[in-house]
């Protein structure tokens, strides 16, 4: 049997899930969604301010670490090794979690994971849960699934709470309410938070205090918590959550039952590997030397913390990504969000334009690797093009994911999938073929180039002049076209130097 399969053979009844489901696809292609976001001046201002602040913080603390490049290399190498032997590491993790009194569940896709969590919550007889901020549960749409079954999920991370109370969607993987300014937050709290002081101001400290009072009550009441995990150590069965507000620590210690949903790529081989990631992650994500709270637990400890622990291992397209040589590197991501914060596209459009819970540069590659490029009308097919290939993401990624190369690869996979599905080539594909045909032959190329100059054919300024594909109107909407030269370089060369040896 092939060994690339992320899920160990036979752990899940039935065939491996081929495609991810859940909150990974928007309703429109990127350019259309981006157009709306670009028209929102408040959003543009909030994003520009937030991303430039966090960029500067990150650059400062990364600059302090003399062996930063060596750490990145180490992070990348550990991840590559992990992906190469994922099935074995997952079984080791399962064995160690079980040995320490936890229960491991395997979920092929979002629907299966939601069903498992729902059944576990129902078995406790509770009708509410507290949640630690988690991308995996966002990805599977767990809150909506629980709500549908009459169970209330309370988000306890401040930004996640803002998003939840605002009936909104997260737009950043670390700072989900990055698109909101503080006056908007005040307005959301005043409207939605039960029992809030009507004299609430938009001072950050006042807003935080209001959230704290609201959440404290929930923490003391809740019997069940749901979390994600930043790392799952195969060697020891230890799960780790990294956070800044202490809400995670509350959720992980106070309730009687803890349910953790973790993507299968989050496993690391040994406890010692955390040394590398716990240096890389906080500096890359919040721009802190160390994050305020790092919680680690293994199974169940009698008389201390939750007495029942469940780990749900989620595939949801990861096996599919792992099968692709380049795609598997997208699974190296530790969700630090540094690539979002430096991305010039994300900075202008924000996260909602990407449709998926994973926005920004990593989202533009991870999402299509999880859901698959269709070559049809799937909005995710537009994501690999949502980049100018400037390379800023690759420069900052703590595990050195070469996102520009992945984007270029996905673009090729997209045009190839499209060609395989459709009888007629797109006008773009036809133009590219024509351009390649012209450029494959110097004589043809010289003729076309000459035709573009004003010297020979009197083409006026303002006309597109290269054998470029449509739609060129996208160019002329905001930029003038350079006026064509009197002669091409090669004609000038032939005229002035042609008879040189």
């Amino acid at each position: 049997m092939s060994t690339f399969l992320g899920m160990p053979q036979g752990r899940v009844p039935g065939p491996a899930a081929d495609t991810a489901v859940g909150q990974l696809t928007g309703d429109r292609p990127f350019p259309a969604a981006a157009r709306d976001a670009l028209g929102n001046t408040q959003l543009r201002r909030n994003l520009a301010h937030a991303t430039s602040t966090i960029r500067a913080k990150r650059a400062a603390v990364v600059g302090e670490v003399p062996d930063w490049e060596a750490l990145r290399e180490a992070g990348s190498a550990i991840k590559a090794d992990t992906m190469a032997r994922l099935p074995e590491l997952l079984e080791q993790l399962e064995a160690n979690v079980t040995a320490r009194g936890g229960t491991v569940h395997w979920a092929r896709d979002a629907a299966e994971a939601n069903r498992i969590v729902l059944d576990l919550v129902r078995a406790t007889g509770e009708n509410e849960v507290v949640k630690v901020k988690s991308m995996a549960t966002q990805e599977i749409g767990l809150n909506e699934a629980l709500e549908g079954a009459g169970i209330t999920a309370h988000e306890t991370d401040l930004a996640e709470l803002i998003v939840q109370l605002g009936h909104d969607k997260p737009s950043h993987i670390l700072v989900p309410a990055i698109h909101r300014g503080r006056s908007e937050i005040r307005e959301i709290f005043a409207r939605e938070m039960p029992g809030v002081d009507p004299g609430l101001t938009d001072e950050p400290a006042v807003l935080a205090a209001a959230a704290r009072t609201h959440l404290r009550e929930v923490f003391l009441r809740a019997k069940v918590a749901v979390s994600g995990a930043n790392f799952g150590v195969a060697e020891t069965g230890t799960l780790t959550v990294v956070e800044s507000e202490g809400n995670g620590r509350m959720c992980l210690t106070l309730p009687e039952t803890l349910i953790t949903v973790m993507g299968i790529e989050k496993v690391v081989p040994t406890w010692r590997d955390l040394e590398v990631f716990l240096q890389l992650l906080p500096r890359s994500s919040t721009g802190e030397r160390m994050n305020p709270y790092t919680s680690s637990w293994a199974g169940v400890t009698p008389g201390d913390g939750p007495q029942e622990f469940h780990l749900v291992l989620l595939d949801n397209g990861r096996t599919r990504a792992l099968a692709d040589d380049l795609g598997r590197t997208a699974l190296h991501c530790i969700r630090c969000s540094a690539c979002l914060n430096v991305c010039p596209v994300y900075e202008r459009t924000g996260g909602h334009a990407y449709g998926s819970v994973y926005p920004g540069p990593i989202g533009a590659v991870l999402t299509p690797f999880l859901t698959g490029i269709t070559g049809g009308s799937d909005p995710n097919d537009s994501l690999p093009y949502a980049s100018s290939l400037c390379g800023a993401c690759y420069d900052v990624c703590p595990v050195k994911i070469n996102i520009p190369d992945l984007l270029v690869e996905l673009r090729a996979e997209h045009t190839e999938a499209h060609a395989a599905r459709h009888r007629l080539p797109t006008s773009e594909a036809a133009a590219m073929k024509a351009a390649a045909w012209v450029m494959a032959d110097p004589k043809r190329f010289a003729r076309v180039g000459r035709a573009a100059t004003r010297g020979r054919h009197g083409i006026r300024q303002g006309k597109p002049v290269l054998p470029l594909p449509p739609p060129l109107s996208g160019w002329t909407a905001s930029r003038d076209v350079p006026s064509p030269p009197a002669e091409t370089f090669r004609d000038w060369w032939a005229r002035t130097r042609g008879d040189r040896p």
Partner: protein, 247 residues
């Protein structure tokens, strides 16, 4: 040194002045510039737009042409474009490998190893920063993404510019942020590209420069196209043209 000029398709057809300036600088420094007339295009647009399959023939052609130039005594290939050199150095072998042609990949790597962007050639290979230019204008420099990140040219272009007589070189705010060109990105995601361009233009205007310069004609076409549309009066001038100037 005998140097082969890789003019780039854009340089040949739309910006011959940039290519002529490149020739002028190198000849002034006493080098022998050769133009292999069979060259066409490196295939970057095809590769970056998803047509790697169509790019393979262009890669092969490029490798054939410049291999021959090297066989005829050229010790280096130069292009006045960070982006096209980036494509040659970073993508050609990968495109060949993806098509299953390992032999071509190896040949492409050999050509790439001798291919330089203009500022790299001048500073690293030829060891000069003062090329004898004079340019009495207020100038700001935009480091294009592929020069900066794919090639890592660092401050080489600035070293060259600082040595130009009479120049008033002013620093561009947020210089390392992308101008929004990105090849076909500029038309496929025209709105986002324009938003990025708007911020770049504001930065340029804040410097009060008469001239914005860069090592890529393509990014300058984008920035200059926007500045011209707004009738700002700021001119885009390629690095090679400033270095060639003796005015």
């Amino acid at each position: 040194m005998r140097i082969a000029l890789f003019v780039t398709c854009l340089g040949d057809v739309l910006f011959p002045d940039v290519a002529r300036a490149t020739v002028a600088v190198l000849e002034r420094l006493g080098h022998d510039v050769v133009f292999p007339e069979a060259q066409t295009c490196c295939g970057q647009m095809h590769t970056n737009t998803g047509y790697q399959h169509d790019a393979v023939g262009l890669v092969r052609h490029h490798v054939d042409v410049f291999e021959q130039a090297m066989a005829r005594g050229c010790e280096a290939v130069v292009a006045p474009s960070g982006s096209c050199v980036g494509s040659v150095r970073h993508q050609h072998a990968a495109v060949a490998r993806r098509s299953g042609d390992e032999a071509l990949a190896v040949r492409a790597e050999a050509v790439a190893a001798r291919t330089f962007e203009l500022s790299e050639l001048l500073v690293d290979v030829l060891g000069v920063t003062d090329v004898g230019a004079a340019y009495p204008h207020r100038v700001t420099y935009h480091p294009t993404c592929h020069s900066l990140r794919l090639l890592g040219v660092g401050d080489r272009p600035l070293q060259l510019l600082r040595a130009v007589r009479g120049i008033d070189l002013v620093e561009l705010p947020a210089a390392d942020s992308c101008c929004g060109f990105g090849g076909t990105f500029s038309v496929k995601n025209a709105d986002t590209s324009t938003a990025m361009l708007a911020d770049k233009m504001s930065a340029v205007l804040a410097t009060d420069a008469e001239v914005v310069t860069a090592g890529d004609a393509s990014c300058l076409m984008h920035i200059g196209g926007g500045l011209s549309r707004l009738r700002t009066g700021v001119r885009p001038v390629h690095l090679a043209e400033i270095l060639a100037s003796t005015a």
